[in-house]
């Protein structure tokens, strides 16, 4: 694989994001695989922000450790990012704004380009971003005209003049660099011929929204929260085209209870949120479990606890997803490994919620949710379509009036057919109190026990395409283990370790509840040491594995919780401590 890292940094409000978007989409359309990561802060203007784009000639699922081209709008950008610079990297800065200094030793090219001055000549200082793209094109020996279509798309609405001056800014940036500097960095060759059938540019949040729609969701109630709001944005645009609605709730408690209400009426419904909102939903999670009402919650995790780091990534809501709410309920927790699985598992969540009549939590995170990337296809053909056990109108009418037993505790698999409001003679009460078959609250001990047992039986014969995957050498003695969004990076780490001669495999969870016991046991066959890599402080996944499967003596933690996403060199370094090295020299 050939790849290359590009980063632009400055203050929030300087147009960093739109520049990154334009560059990423342009590369994507040229046929490259791109992966983006936005580093930003919880404020509107000021503060350091940067946008990293990794471009490659094959599928990538991580933004990469290295930066080959850094566009620095200020010294802070250099101070914050210089350690990622690859040997021979080019750093572009505007000498009129500041005199760039490298805080440490690196073999890189510091290139002063009067970005603002060139932009002014092209039509306005605001276009220094476009000048940067032109400079980038020159560094990579790319034709600046390749950016024409994206600029047309982006600025076409503002008129031909705006398009022309932006194009001019790109050209002038290109020309300036060509005339003044010699350092060039080769771009990988685009290996994919862009075609309308495949090759999509999508974020995990967009994929989750799309998945919801494909899975039958026609009602979203949500409260704005970083990093989950984009799911809401996407569905606000799409829902009305498919007979669905999005309600902006007054808070997350309202949002989740609305999702329960809509599901009770028979509409597949969900809420999307992040940690603080998810915490507010815990009581309602219990209501969905107790009343056996389908419910889907997408939790795009961010750094906690409490408000935590609102704009930084983490995988620390796993415990809450698995164990949150008082009392005991069953729930399904899906942890998509890729954006394709964000689509597929969010779609399937609706079928699973109806099939098992319980809450389904889709656990993604800021890193996957907000990073846009190139994928080949959406697995639309694999989406489940299951409306669960429903009692028909005819069956209800054949019953004596009032004889429908919604919570029939005698059903073998624990899942009793439900009726929907509007169905004649299907009356029942859905409730959070312990109840008898028709939904009347009762306190008789034997009924309580029978109903509790009924609910717990529901996942005994659970089946779903999610679970545990194994990559690499099947019976390798060493294993990298993870869940959710770290899949791509751990795959890169496995390949790197394998290249160094280590007998290694990569075990990854795309579902943690119900715990894929048998598949995990099979995956662990032959393992002498397993490094469980996760973005939290306490090793939540490792603890789940210990609890559900054992392996106490051979599990090692690889933990990160400083707010930054995981990097390849960090995994390799920890692997070097855990696995018998020497093979890595």
């Amino acid at each position: 694989m050939q790849d290359c890292g590009w980063k632009i940094g400055g203050k929030q409000g300087e147009g960093i994001d739109s520049t990154g978007d334009i560059y990423a989409i342009a590369l994507h359309r040229m046929g490259y695989y791109v992966f983006t990561y936005r580093h930003f802060m919880s404020l509107i203007k000021g503060g350091h922000t940067n946008y990293k784009i990794r471009v490659a000639d094959e599928q990538i699922r991580h933004h990469g450790d290295l930066v080959h081209v850094l566009i620095a709008f200020d010294q802070t950008t250099i101070d914050e990012n210089w350690q990622e610079l690859a040997d021979g990297a080019v750093v572009i800065y505007d000498g009129a704004a500041f005199e760039a200094k490298l805080p440490g030793d690196r073999d890189v090219n510091l290139c002063q380009v009067p970005l603002t001055e060139i932009a002014k000549q092209a039509g306005g200082a605001i276009m220094k971003n476009m000048v940067s793209i032109g400079v980038t094109a020159a560094i990579h020996n790319m034709d600046p005209e390749l950016f024409h279509p994206v600029i047309e798309d982006k600025f076409g609405k503002k008129g031909a003049k705006v398009v022309q001056s932006n194009l001019e800014a790109v050209r002038q940036g290109y020309v300036y660099y060509e005339e003044h500097y010699k350092a060039h960095i080769p771009m990988p060759k685009p290996s994919v011929v862009p075609s309308d059938e495949r090759h999509f540019y999508v974020s995990g949040n967009q994929a989750a929204g799309f998945g919801a729609l494909a899975g039958g969701c026609r009602f979203l109630a949500a409260y704005p929260i970083t990093p989950a709001t984009e799911i809401m944005y996407w569905l606000i645009n799409e829902m009305p085209k498919h007979g669905g609605i999005v309600v902006q709730a007054e808070d997350e408690i309202a949002a989740v209870n609305m999702a329960i209400g809509a599901n009770f009426s028979g509409v597949p419904a969900m809420t999307s949120t992040s940690g603080p909102g998810f915490s507010l939903m815990m009581e309602a999670l219990g209501l969905a479990g107790m009343s056996e009402t389908p419910l889907v919650i997408v939790d795009v995790q961010r750094s906690g606890p409490s408000t935590g780091l609102p704009t930084k990534t983490e995988q620390s809501d796993l415990n809450e997803a698995l164990y949150g709410t008082h009392g005991e309920i069953q729930r399904i927790v899906l942890t998509p490994r890729t954006v394709e699985e964000c689509f597929l598992y969010t779609a399937d969540a609706f079928s699973l919620a109806e099939k098992y009549q319980m809450p389904v939590i889709v656990l993604t995170d800021l890193y996957m949710g907000m990073s846009s990337q190139t994928i080949d296809r959406f697995p639309a053909d694999k989406v489940m379509a299951d409306t669960g056990k429903r009692i028909s109108d005819e069956a209800l009418l054949a019953l004596e009036p009032g004889a429908f037993v919604r919570y029939d505790e005698t059903v073998k698999d624990g899942v009793s057919p439900r009726s929907l409001p509007g169905q004649k003679n299907g009356r029942y009460v859905a409730l959070g109190n312990e109840h008898n078959g028709i939904g009347l609250e009762v306190e008789e001990t034997y009924i309580r026990q029978a109903q509790a047992d009924k609910r717990m039986r529901k996942l005994q014969h659970f089946t779903h395409q999610s679970g545990v995957t194994v990559d690499g050498i099947k019976d390798a003695p060493f294993a990298l283990v993870g869940f959710g969004s770290t899949y791509g990076l751990l795959e890169e780490a496995r390949q790197k370790l394998a290249q160094s001669g280590l007998q290694v495999k990569h075990i990854h969870f795309s579902r943690v509840a119900p715990f894929p016991k048998e598949d995990f046991a099979a995956a662990m066959g032959g393992v002498e040491r397993a490094l469980v890599v996760e973005l939290n402080q306490q090793g939540q996944l490792a603890n789940v594995i210990r609890r559900e499967a054992g392996y106490h003596d051979i599990l090692f933690n690889g933990l990160k919780y400083n707010g930054d996403p995981l990097y390849l060199h960090e995994v390799l370094e920890r692997a070097g401590q855990v696995f018998p090295m020497g093979v890595l020299q």
Partner: protein, 287 residues
Amino acid sequence: MSTMKDFKAEKPTWCPGCGDFGVLNAMQRAAVSLGLEPENVAVISGIGCSGKMSQHFGGYGLHSLHGRSLPTAQAVKLANKNLTVMAAGGDGDGFGIGMGHFIHAMRRNVDITYIVMDNHIYGLTTGQASPTSDIGSTTKTSPHGTVEKPIEPLQLALSERCGFIAQGFSGDTKHLATLIEKAIRHRGFSFVNVFSPCVTFNKVNTYEFYKTGLVNLDEDEGYNNADRFEAMRRVSEANNLVVGVVYEDPAQTAYEDTVYGYPSESLVSMERGLKQEEYDRILAAFH
């Protein structure tokens, strides 16, 4: 045609003489009078004595969480607008833990009816001060008398421009039934506050207390319930002790009639999944 029997469910477990019996009866009468069928009515309740309403009323029921009847009920209705949806709760449920949702439900204006059984006390937890307890009320949690000013539900609803506001008394179920019937007929969010005495824990706000002190605005020919400021003044003058339709603004449009994209049928009748051409259109946007 449905009858009272169709709206009866399990025998209520309220204390003998509880005001909530009258509320249940009035809800059933209103449903019969409107010609509703039980399968097309859903009662969504919160927690407390009032929360048992969903189990005692013979329609579909959702006995939700403490304070959360309103968000739940709004979604039940939005999902299937052919249902008649009533949310039921008490003063603790609705004006304590659930107060935020009340304000927002009025703002949102989904076509549901909210009935509050206001007894100025927490009953099911055996007698603690509630948000509508009068200043000086002595209860288990206020042995020296409450000092907080009580919530004034009608004034609150008036200030929020709730499209239909009424107050009733569970000792007069016939009148209360007419109020609930009007509330259900109103298209948009409607609010009926009901003085529903707790015979066990509130020895002040009793049936006797309300039988003598209430001003019936429905019987006042000079009262114009389309005038919000007049309503505020009259409610204030009577120290909230009014019954009848306090305010109605039929011109307000319900959320589901206004919000962009709500289909002409209900959400529940929409097809699931996506057709190939819908996939293709969405996919094209990701290129």
